[in-house]
């Protein structure tokens, strides 16, 4: 089938069209409108074969027939029953909602699309109505009167459309008086879809690559080494400091795990250069692994089982190499998994030691069971103990605001550490927060998390990212902010696209990149540029001044 060309409407076209009015028809009578730009492509069957997942086949979202397996209905209902028995949370979330609507306008996809089924209360109802029909006496008896409905192929299509319009960011849960976790329901709903062979390409391609080769980007060991060695040379060119890394080194004290986006895609690559500069500055005894070459975990976006499988590589490699503990880079969902799942999935990590900073002696007791420390915690601790010589003026061209990534902020409470680092590596007055309702635990999602980086999905991504971008625009216009900082590789991959659309004046940066800019080494060369080869404040003007003076002399 020929693929429809995806064209994205302009901001001026999108904004007036977002309506929050009550639709004329009831929600059960409205089918999803699969327009190009608003849905993700199905997974290529070869990825399912790579990872041994069921029902690999070619199908198309806009086709009437999705070629579901003949027993799809039984599989879904059995899967629901199984999950209701294993996850008390699911049963609770189905039963407890009182439709108060506190969540309704908290979802970035609802704000950006105006589609009522993106109100978390209604998104959950898409599944809850089936739960009522088959698992609750009232629903069995009274059907639609009790808010129940039959499970049909149209329901499956609707689940697909809306469960893949939830980034599992959990902003709605924060406002729910009962704490109903929409992300949990989305995760389980996507598992059910996956059990009948419904998966999306962007997630599955990344999962299969990670399972087969070690990272979502599909880097072979030699490719990973080639890229990271390139950063060592680049660091030397810009700073005079060569920052070599050892790979798969047994006996190193620390295993460092980063999201693969950071050693492949800009601007994450500058963040990786920052990691290397910091670790070299400290003389840290660390290594990275080509097997556990991925901090992120797209498996989590399709099923708990696949998330667990990919996550297992980190501890397996830490054990094989005999390291004492692990530092993790600036990644989003990696930390959500670490904080909420890793211990029970693949722990206990009793073969590792309690993480202790070799520089400051700080014992990271928050990582007592996982034995894995966030780079921002590690760096903030170094600054707090005065262990880093920093020159904030090297970041004087940057006026920054900070995007709390959903997973590290709402998922595990990292609010202060990145801000503390930022304030120490930027000149005073160069950091400004966005409005309180859009940061920290109330942060707005980038709009593309949980596997939505795909191009074919651009319109919905840009709509979902509108509330985030709107807050960035506010601080840009009011305070002249020109950079958006973040500690997540998905953010670094998708926010440049989002801001390019809504606030093109603002660039995206990781926080370790700013640390790399500011770090003062004893034996460094004179720094004239930042890591991106942009002139430092004063350097360009001085040269222009000299050139102008020379030109004036020549004229004379």
């Amino acid at each position: 089938m020929a693929k429809a060309k995806v064209t994205v409407p302009t901001p001026a076209e999108i904004l007036p069209g977002i309506s929050y009015k009550t639709p004329e028809k009831g929600w059960m009578d409205v089918k999803p409108d699969f327009r190009p730009g608003t849905y993700c492509n199905p997974a290529n069957p070869k990825w399912l074969e790579w990872i041994g997942y069921p029902y690999p086949r070619a199908w198309h979202v806009t086709d009437e027939d999705w070629h579901l397996p003949s027993d799809w209905k039984e599989t879904i209902l059995q899967g629901m029953e199984d999950r209701l028995s294993r996850f008390r949370s699911l049963k609770l979330f189905f039963d407890i909602c009182v439709r108060c609507g506190a969540c309704a306008d908290k979802c970035h996809f609802f704000l950006g699309t105006g589609d009522p089924k993106n109100m978390p209360v209604l998104r959950a109802e898409l599944m809850r109505s089936v739960y009522k029909r088959y698992f609750k006496p009232a629903g069995r008896l009274l059907g639609q009167l009790a808010g129940a409905r039959d499970l049909t192929e149209d329901v499956i299509k609707e689940w697909f459309f809306y469960l893949y319009q939830c980034t599992e960011c959990r902003r709605c849960s924060l406002f729910c008086p009962y704490g109903i976790d929409m992300a949990e329901m989305t995760i389980l709903g996507r598992e059910l879809l996956s059990s009948i062979g419904i998966n999306i390409e962007w997630t599955l391609a990344s999962v299969a690559q990670c399972y087969d080769k070690g990272s979502h980007i599909g880097a072979t060991p030699q490719a990973m080494k080639d890229m990271i060695d390139f950063f060592a040379e680049e660091n030397e060119r810009v700073t005079g400091i060569y920052t070599p890394i050892t790979y798969n080194r047994k006996g190193a004290e620390i295993l460092f795990v980063a999201p693969s986006g950071d050693y492949f895609a800009d601007p994450g690559t500058y963040t990786f250069m920052g990691y290397m500069l910091l670790f070299t500055y400290l003389g840290l005894d660390y290594t990275i692994s080509t097997y556990a070459g991925e901090g992120g975990n797209f498996g989590f976006f399709m099923s708990h089982e696949m998330g667990k499988r990919l996550n297992a590589k980190i501890y397996a490699e830490a054990k094989r190499l005999g390291v004492k503990w692990i530092i993790g880079g600036e990644c989003g969902h990696m930390w959500r998994i670490l904080n909420q799942y890793m211990d029970t999935w693949n722990g206990p990590a009793d073969f590792l030691e309690m993480p202790v900073s070799p520089i400051t002696g700080t014992k990271f007791e928050n990582a007592a069971t996982t034995r894995m420390v966030h780079i921002s915690e590690f760096t903030a601790d170094l600054i707090k103990h005065g262990k880093l010589k920093l020159d904030p003026m090297r970041n004087a061209h940057i006026k920054l605001t900070f995007h709390d990534s959903c997973n590290t902020s709402r998922g595990m409470g990292i609010f202060e550490e990145p801000r503390y680092i930022i304030k120490n590596v930027l000149p005073e007055g160069h950091f400004v927060d966005m409005p309180p309702n859009t940061i920290r635990e109330k942060t707005f999602c980038c709009g593309s998390g949980s596997g939505f980086n795909a191009d074919e999905y651009l319109e919905t991504r840009l709509r979902g990212g509108l509330p985030r971008a709107n807050a960035v625009r506010y601080v840009h216009e009011k305070y002249g902010v020109n950079h958006l900082g973040c500690i997540c590789a998905i953010d670094r991959a998708v926010l440049p696209t989002l801001l390019g659309y809504w606030v093109p004046e603002v660039e995206v940066t990781g926080i370790s990149e700013l640390v790399g800019n500011a770090l003062v080494f004893d034996e460094e060369i004179e720094r004239t540029t930042d890591l991106r080869d942009r002139d430092l404040v004063g350097v360009g003007e001085a040269e222009e001044g000299v050139e102008a003076a020379e030109a004036a002399e020549e004229e004379e």
Binding site: M1, G218, T220, F230, F264, A265, D266, E456
Partner: protein, 105 residues
């Protein structure tokens, strides 16, 4: 899988129009992408990029990161966009027959 027919040849492509297999790559594929990309004339510079991408891919199993592509070819990113309007990934990699990048990219 979708297929593309051009100048008597048939190519198997993924949903994004990338070749499923580099072995299928040929001059006809290059011509096909050139047309769909709206590139009027292929120059030595285009071929330098294609050659570099394929060499790197055969050796490393992945497309090079953009900064390495820039360094090896000597072309700044802006110039690569002038050569391939859809950019290094969607334009140049597609023409060179490489798989599209995945993950946090």
């Amino acid at each position: 899988m979708a297929t593309v027919e051009f100048k008597g040849k048939t190519f198997t492509v993924d949903e994004d129009g990338f070749l499923e297999n580099l072995d299928q790559w040929s001059q006809e594929w290059v011509d096909y992408v050139k047309d769909s990309e709206g590139i009027s004339q292929l120059t030595e510079e285009h071929w330098k990029v294609i050659q570099m991408l394929q060499d790197y891919y055969k050796k490393n199993g992945i497309a090079p990161m953009v900064r390495i592509l820039s360094k090896v070819t000597g072309f700044k990113l802006k110039h690569i966009y002038e050569l391939f309007p859809s950019g290094p990934g969607k334009g140049a990699c597609k023409m060179a027959g490489l798989a599209k990048p995945t993950g946090c990219v």
